[in-house]
């Protein structure tokens, strides 16, 4: 399984902190993203954000990063700490 997390405005838009998805349905972050966009209009809108960021196993990654069973994938808007 893949653990998927959402943060900040993205979490609010989706009304969802996170979910688990089977690992065998996609090989990259962008394939995972496409699959999640299929969950409905609010998902498609939120996940199509041009500046969407992704972390794979708690490290910033690009949308074409590979995804493996057991990975933790987090989507979030640009960070604004400090």
């Amino acid at each position: 399984m893949i653990k998927v997390l959402f943060f900040a405005s993205l979490r609010e838009q989706l009304g969802c902190d996170g979910l688990e998805v089977p690992a065998d349905q996609f090989a990259s972050v962008s394939e995972l993203r496409s699959q999640l966009e299929g969950k409905g209009d609010s998902w498609r809108t939120a996940l199509s954000h041009a500046q969407l960021q992704v972390a794979v196993n708690q490290e910033l990654a690009s949308m074409d990063a590979a995804v493996h069973d057991g990975d933790e994938i987090a989507f979030f808007p640009p960070v604004t700490g400090g």
Binding site: L5, F7, A8, S9, Q51, A55, Q58, E59, L60, A74, F76, P77, P78, V79, T80, G81, G82
Partner: protein, 159 residues
């Protein structure tokens, strides 16, 4: 001598004076200490140049990644400059106007190294550490997420 790096991601407040004392404790070889503290402002400029009053800032973070991102940034600074100690604290949760959000402290034998490393850590923290701010107004009205500024991304280019 190995650099001492200390990172905290915490809900509790911190005391910059006590952090300074810790950076200096038994550290007579580093003549230079640079520090940056970020506090919650009581207003937020919006696009039209109006100032919206802010009563509370909600800081969300990605537990686990927040710590490791700050550690990675501090380690990069320590590879690049001859530092003695590096201390980074970032808070999360609801913070009132005026409260401390972030502390970065660096010590070195060289003032330039301490100052540059402190600025470097703040610049990367702003654009690479998973924290998000939401502003709640004085009337308690629904908060607005702070937008990332392109100037923060631009600031990384100078390093």
């Amino acid at each position: 001598m190995a650099v001492q790096i200390s990172i905290s991601v915490q809900a509790e407040g911190f005391d910059p004076g006590a952090e300074y004392n810790r950076l200096r404790s038994e550290n007579c070889s580093d003549g230079a200490t640079a520090m940056f503290v970020g506090n919650v402002r009581d207003f937020s400029p919006d696009e039209s140049g109006q100032h919206r009053e802010v009563a509370v800032l909600e800081l969300e973070h990605y537990p686990g990644m927040a710590e490791s991102a700050l550690s990675a940034i501090a380690s990069q600074a320590a590879e690049r400059w001859p530092l003695g100690r590096v201390r980074v604290i970032h808070r999360y949760g609801p913070l009132d106007a005026g409260e401390e959000i972030v502390f970065v402290g660096t010590t070195s034998a060289h003032r330039q190294a301490a100052l540059d490393a402190c600025a470097f850590i703040m610049d990367f923290l702003k654009s690479r550490a998973p924290f998000w701010k939401k502003e709640v107004g004085k009337g308690g009205e629904a908060g607005a997420w702070v937008e990332a500024r392109s100037s923060d991304e631009t600031a990384l280019k100078k390093w």
